[in-house]
Symmetry: C2
DNA sequence: AATGACTGGACAAACGGTTGCGCAAATTTA
DNA sequence: TAAATTTGCGCAACCGTTTGTCCAGTCATT
C-alpha cells in the first residue's frame, strides 16, 4: 500500500545483499539456484515491480521514442503512427507524442522538451515550412539519433524513409495521357519540398516517355491551404490551353480543387478529371472522389522508420552509415473507373 | 563533448558544493547574490541542462501523462488528442501514447507498461468491448489517477468527461419536426451503450415536447458495421409508416445509410433526410452530407479531461472527490441548409 | 595436506540531483 | 560589548538499481 517494494526490501527480508537480489532476478549464473528461487518467489509474493525511473536513470536509457509530426488529424499521419507504435511496442519501447501543427517554432520547442526528457531517439516528419534544421543538428551532440519520414529535410547525412512520388506521378500522368488527356495541370506543393520536386520530375518523365513536351506553366506551386488551391485552380483554368485533367498534391487539395471546379460550372469526370495522392479511406464517401490516387503506404513508412531507429539504438546499425529508404508510391485506380 | 555537464562539474570548477549549485540554479534565497550569479553564468556557458531522468527518479514524478484510446484514425480521437496535448504541454507535461485498437487485451497491456514507465496519470477512452475494469482498479494502489473521457466505464467512483447525447438529440429531432417530418427513424448503436440510451431518451423527450407519441419500432439498434446499418435501413424503409427522416448514430453510419437509400432509388433531402452525430470535418466533402450533425466537441473533451487530471496531480483536486463533467452536445446545421 | 580453481555472495561505488541540518561568519539587537 | 539573529554555504544522506571487485568457503587435483 504505502511504498512499492524495492530490491532492498527483498534483500533485507532474506538477509541478502541488494546486489544478490538484483542478480537473482536477472537469472545471473553466479547466483545459486536455491537463493535465486527464494528471491524470485518473494518478489512474486510482494508483487515486486522494478522502478523503471531508477533503471532509466542508471542505464541512461528511457526506452522511449519521440515522435514529432505535423497533424494527427491528417489520415496519413494517424496511419503512420500506428505503424510506429506497433513496431516500437514489439521492442518494449513507448512512444512520446508531439504535434507541431505545422509550426516551426512549436517543432523546435517539442524537440527541446523531448531532448530533456531523454528520449532514446526521434522520429520526425517536418512542419511544412521548416527550413532551418539547427534543432535537429543539435541532437547529434547528445547522441540522439533521428530518423525522418515522409516530410524530410533537404540535407545530406540524415536517416530517412520517404516515398518516392516520382514513380506514382509517372503512373498518374501516364494514366491520364492514356485516356486521351493532353493538357494536364498540376497543383503542386511548395517549391522547396522534395516531394514537390519529385512530382515535377515524374510529370516531366511521363511526358517524355510519350515524346510529349512538358509545359512548366501547367505546373503551379501552391501552399496547400484552401485559398492557395483555389488560386492555383483559377490560374490553371484560365490557362491559354484548355486543361482537361488535374493532378492534385493530395486528396485534401483535390477536394478543394473539385469544389472550385464545380462552382465554376464544370462537370467532374467530363469537363475535367482529377487524380491525386494519399488514397484516403474516406474518399469512398466523397462526392467526387479522384479517378485515381497515389498510395504512399503510411503504415509501412512508420514501421520502416521505427525499425531503422531501433537498429540504430541497438547498435546494429552504425550512426554514420546513413539509412535512406525510399518506398515506391503506386497508383490506385478508384473501383469501377 | 562526451558527457553533458553536471551540477557536480559546475561545483568543482567554482569550488562550491553541489548543493549550493543546485540551490543557486533554483534561485534559493539562502544563496548569496554573487555566487548565485557566478553559478548561473557558468551554467549558461557550459550549456548545462539538468538531467531529467535523475530528477524524475529523485522526485518520483515523470511529468508524463499516458493516453489510452481505441483508434487515432477516428477523427474524434485525433481531435481529442490535440486538446490533450495542448493542455498538457502548457503545464510542461508530455504525452505517452497507446492505441488499444479496440482490443481489451492490448488495452490491459498498455496500461501495465504505462504503469511501469511511471506515468503520473492516465487519460483513457475505453476499447469498445472492455467490460472488466481490473486493470484500471489496480492503478489505485499505485496512486496513479485516471480520468476517462468519451467512452467511459459503467461504474461509480471514477473521474470522467463525457458528452451528453441527449441534448443534441433533442435538438436534432426537434429540427426535423419543425421541418414537418412526422415519421422519424433512428439508427441507434448497441443497446447497452450509454450513448445509445441517451439518444433514445433525447428522441422521446423531443417528441414529448411537441405532444407527439414516441414509436419504439422506429428506433432500431445496430452494431455500427456497414452491414448492420444496411439491415437497419431495410427495416426502417419497410416500416408500415413512411419514414421521411433518419437520425443516424454518427457520420460514418449516416454515409452507409445514405448509400443504401440511394441504391433504393430514394432522393436524398427530398424523399428522405438525414441527421447524424460527430460533425466530421470531412463531411463538407461528402456526396450527401447530413442536413445537420451533433457536435461532440472532442477537442474540448480532451482539454477538460486533461485539466482535471492535472489538478488531481497538483493536489488542487482531491482524488476521492470524483469529477464527472458532462459536456452538452449541440446540433450544427450544415451551411446553407 | 597443500595448492588451485570454482562457487556463491557481500561490499561499495556510481548514476545526477535535492534537501535537512549544522556551522561559521557577518550583522543586528539589547 | 555580549547575545541573538541572520546570512551563506558545506556535509551527507537519499532515491532504486546495476556492476566491478573482493572475500570466504567448497571442491577437486596432485
Amino acid at each position: 500500500m504505502p511504498n512499492p517494494p524495492t530490491i532492498k526490501e527483498i534483500a533485507k527480508r532474506l538477509n541478502l545483499a541488494a546486489s544478490t537480489v538484483s542478480r537473482a532476478l536477472h537469472d545471473h549464473p553466479r547466483i545459486g539456484l536455491r537463493t535465486r528461487l527464494k528471491v524470485q518467489e518473494l518478489a512474486r509474493e510482494l508483487q515486486y515491480e522494478p522502478n523503471q525511473t531508477a533503471i532509466f536513470f542508471q542505464q541512461k536509457k528511457t526506452f522511449t521514442l519521440g515522435i514529432v509530426l505535423p497533424e494527427l488529424s491528417e489520415a496519413f499521419f494517424s496511419a503512420a503512427i500506428s505503424g510506429i507504435e506497433d513496431t516500437a511496442n514489439k521492442s518494449n519501447y513507448m512512444v512520446l507524442l508531439g504535434q507541431s501543427h505545422d509550426d516551426t517554432e512549436r517543432e523546435q520547442k517539442i524537440v527541446e522538451i523531448m531532448k530533456n526528457h531523454r528520449v532514446d531517439g526521434l522520429l520526425v516528419s517536418l512542419a511544412k515550412n521548416t527550413v532551418n534544421y539547427a534543432h535537429f543538428e543539435m541532437l547529434r551532440k547528445y547522441n540522439i539519433p533521428v530518423v525522418f519520414f515522409d516530410r524530410i529535410p533537404n540535407m545530406p547525412d540524415i536517416h530517412y524513409v520517404a516515398s518516392n512520388m516520382e514513380s506514382g506521378t509517372i503512373q498518374a500522368v501516364s494514366l491520364l495521357l492514356q485516356r486521351g488527356h493532353r493538357v494536364i495541370g498540376m497543383i503542386n506543393g511548395p517549391e522547396k519540398l522534395i516531394a514537390s520536386q519529385q512530382r515535377t520530375t515524374g510529370y516531366q518523365k511521363a511526358m517524355q516517355q510519350q515524346r510529349l513536351k512538358y509545359d512548366a506553366s501547367l505546373n503551379v506551386n501552391a501552399d496547400l491551404t484552401k485559398e492557395g488551391t483555389r488560386n492555383a485552380m483559377q490560374q490553371l483554368l484560365s490557362h491559354k490551353r484548355k486543361v482537361t485533367a488535374i493532378v492534385a498534391f493530395n486528396d485534401y487539395v483535390s477536394q478543394d480543387a473539385v469544389q472550385y471546379a464545380v462552382e465554376q460550372g464544370l462537370e467532374i469526370n467530363k469537363d475535367i478529371t482529377f487524380v491525386s495522392y494519399a488514397n484516403l479511406p474516406i474518399s469512398s464517401y466523397m462526392a467526387f472522389p479522384p479517378l485515381a490516387s497515389v498510395e504512399q503506404y503510411p503504415y509501412l513508412q512508420g514501421q520502416k522508420a521505427t525499425e531503422i531507429l531501433l537498429e540504430l539504438l541497438s547498435g546494429k546499425l552504425a550512426a554514420d552509415r546513413y539509412q535512406q529508404t525510399v518506398i515506391d508510391s503506386r497508383l490506385v485506380i478508384a473501383p469501377g473507373r
